[in-house]
């Protein structure tokens, strides 16, 4: 973890410097007043200086105890669960324009449910997905009248 912390500090420095470059290119101002790049430059300086500060601190004095989580993955199988959550959510976002939120939810939520509770039955997961997606649809589309993307079933 300390190595990752140092790596991220280096990234902030590089990212900040790139932002400084782009901010200067946008223009810092002239007789007419401040330019579009002045404020982003201040943000870039904060990022660069912060990254450099953390890097120096870590190299010279070490990371204060308790600042980082002890391990990157907190439990066995965590990478798989987090990965599946991200992949399923990505899939849901991809299909929302075609299937709508209700149908995407009814398909995606059982997968998310099984990711968290792998010992539950698929039937129960499917039931949870359909009920939860139905409630969310009722709340937003029916009660609040939010215009949501519709799927092939008309909702």
């Amino acid at each position: 973890m300390p190595a990752l912390n140092i790596g991220l500090s280096l990234f902030w420095m590089l990212f900040g410097l790139a932002l400084v470059h782009q901010s200067v290119a946008l223009g810092l101002g002239g007789p007419g007043g401040p330019g579009s790049g002045l404020f982003p430059l201040l943000a870039a300086i904060l990022i660069t200086a912060g990254g450099a500060g953390v890097l120096l601190r870590d190299l010279l004095r070490g990371v204060p105890e308790g600042e980082l989580t002890p391990r990157f993955w907190m439990a066995r199988g965590a990478a798989l669960r987090v990965g599946l959550m991200v992949v399923v959510t990505t899939g849901m976002i991809l299909v929302v324009p075609k299937l709508g939120f209700a149908l995407s939810g009814a398909i995606g939520l059982p997968l998310l449910f099984r990711t968290i509770a792998p010992r539950s039955s698929w039937w129960f997961a499917l039931l949870v997905g359909i009920v939860a997606a139905g409630i969310v649809h009722l709340l937003f589309a029916v009660m609040l009248g939010t215009p949501l993307p519709r799927g092939p079933l008309g909702f």
Partner: protein
């Protein structure tokens, strides 16, 4: 004074009709619901419901929309406390101690204190609005861009003070929030900044997507890492009312939060979000044991919740008295007034006293409705805790997606939400706090605007911040606080860490 009472009585007479009371009740109910639902904030709700108020009388329309606004402040704390996901941005800090209390089996006390503190502070704000609005708004309009700029810098410095971990990492988060906020078209020059040819980025990044990603999605990702996430925290119903000890600990934070929230809400740019952050920072600063904050201190719930409701009340003063919306929500309320043929501003109280005082009276009624709705319903909200995480988390993912989409009706925002969610999950592992990023993201556009205005009006550039007494004082306080943070950080960093 007598004239004010008479005018207020006229306002009550105007709204104490079944129709107007119904709309205030509906607004309070929807507001609480909106606050409870992660993913949809008051701004999105007000935007969605604005067209429905066209057919209503002006007082009923503004009363309902206002009730949604402060109802969401009440409701926002519920999700923060129960599932550690802020229902709306002003409840971010309530997560810190509110959820810790819930984990200790004291969700009821936290919820009760949040509702009662909100009621006390909201009423405090309305009373001051009623009697002192001309003088207070007169002070607010004397502040120019340099003072606003200095005030917002102070707000960001206070955020660094609030950070429990590394101040340097907090600085990076503020820089990141500011950088993200500058994406899109520069409204002054018309130039596109950091859009890289992407059409979706020309309008900038949507706040709702950022907040839901950072606090909703990242929280869920952190939780699913555990191998066997069990049932959510269970709380017994007998613990619902704050104890005498809770009251003893909370009355002073509520009073401080009320005053601080009122002052912050009065100033354009300052709103419930800033008020709650500043209140938390203040409570933590003056506590005998600041390290116990974040571990279930009721002061960390009472103060910020009081502050955000007080800020909502005082935010109405510039709108009703001066016709100046202090934030996006009051800008929408102003739009509702204009749609209904009423021009907000100094002449409102003269030309349409029944509307001005009717709206003020509706704020009193709405706060009472919300207390009645929230305290008895706290038990129902606590029932949410009994829902297993395996059911709750997937549902929240869908709620977050729909809420994020509804703010702007843009699929791209869903990608932003997911991106910020993964980023937030990763950064939290490395000790980066996310709240400073959000606060900077909210404040940055206002800060940039006031900075530019200050620089344009000054022949000596940045010297204007030293030439004006109020701005100079605020900047000096910010500088002193930064020196204090640097000194404290240096003293606190142990030698020979884990490198």
């Amino acid at each position: 004074m007598e004239g004010t009472f008479a005018a207020l009585a006229g306002g009550f007479a105007a709204i104490l009709t079944p129709g107007t009371l119904y709309y205030i009740f509906v607004g309070s109910l929807i507001g609480t619901l909106i606050g409870v639902l992660p993913g949809i904030g008051p701004l999105a709700a007000l935007s969605l419901l604005l067209p429905t108020t066209v057919a209503l009388p002006p007082v009923a329309a503004i009363a309902m929309l206002s009730a949604i606004f402060y109802g969401s402040m009440y409701g926002g704390s519920i999700t923060s406390i129960l599932v550690n996901i802020p229902g709306e941005a002003a409840s971010v800090v309530t997560c810190l101690d509110g959820h810790a209390m819930a984990k200790q089996g004291r969700a009821g006390a936290a919820l009760g204190m949040a509702a009662l503190g909100s009621f006390i502070a909201g009423t405090f704000g309305i009373v001051i609005l009623t009697f002192f609005s001309p003088a207070l708004s007169g002070f607010a309009i004397r502040l120019g861009p340099p003072e606003y700029c200095a005030l917002m810098v102070l707000g960001l410095v206070c955020t660094i003070l609030m950070i429990q971990g590394s101040a340097l990492k907090g600085m990076i988060m503020i820089g990141l929030g500011t950088a993200f906020a500058t994406q899109g078209m520069d409204v002054v020059s018309g130039e596109f900044r950091f859009t890289y040819g992407t059409i979706e980025l020309t309008a900038g990044i949507e706040l709702v997507a950022v907040v839901i990603g950072l606090f909703g999605v990242s929280e869920i990702l952190s939780n699913v890492e555990q191998s066997a996430p069990g049932m959510a925290v269970k709380t017994k119903l007998r613990n619902l009312w704050p104890s005498r000890a809770d009251w003893a600990a909370s009355w002073a934070p509520i009073l401080r939060g009320s005053g601080l929230g009122f002052a912050v809400g009065l100033v354009p740019g300052g709103g419930p979000v800033t008020a709650s952050f500043l209140s938390y920072a203040a409570e933590r600063r003056i506590a005998k044991d600041p390290s116990s904050f974040g571990k279930g201190r009721i002061e960390g719930v009472a103060g910020p919740e009081a502050a955000n409701n007080s800020a909502v009340s005082s935010g109405m003063i510039p709108l009703l008295s001066l016709g100046i919306p202090g934030n996006a929500v009051t800008a929408l309320l102003m739009g509702a007034l204009i749609i209904n043929g009423v021009q907000p501003g100094p002449m409102l109280i003269v030309d349409n006293p029944q509307i001005f005082w009717g709206v003020v009276a509706s704020l009193y009624i709405g706060n009472v409705f919300l207390l009645i709705l929230n305290l008895p319903l706290v038990g129902l909200w606590v029932q949410l805790l009994r829902v297993p995480y395996s059911v709750l988390f997937p549902t929240i993912v869908l709620l977050a997606m729909v809420g994020t989409y509804s703010a702007n009706r843009n699929i791209f925002d869903l990608w932003v939400m997911l991106g910020f969610g993964v980023m937030g999950w990763f950064l939290r592992k490395l000790g980066y706090e996310l709240a400073p990023l959000v606060l900077a993201f909210v404040l940055a556009p206002l800060l940039e605007q006031s900075l530019r205005q200050s620089m344009v009006m000054s022949p000596d550039g940045a010297m204007i911040f030293l030439a004006r007494p109020v701005a100079a004082t605020l900047m000096a306080v910010s500088a002193l606080l930064l020196i204090f943070v640097a000194y404290k950080g240096r003293a606190a960093t142990p030698k020979g860490g884990t490198t």
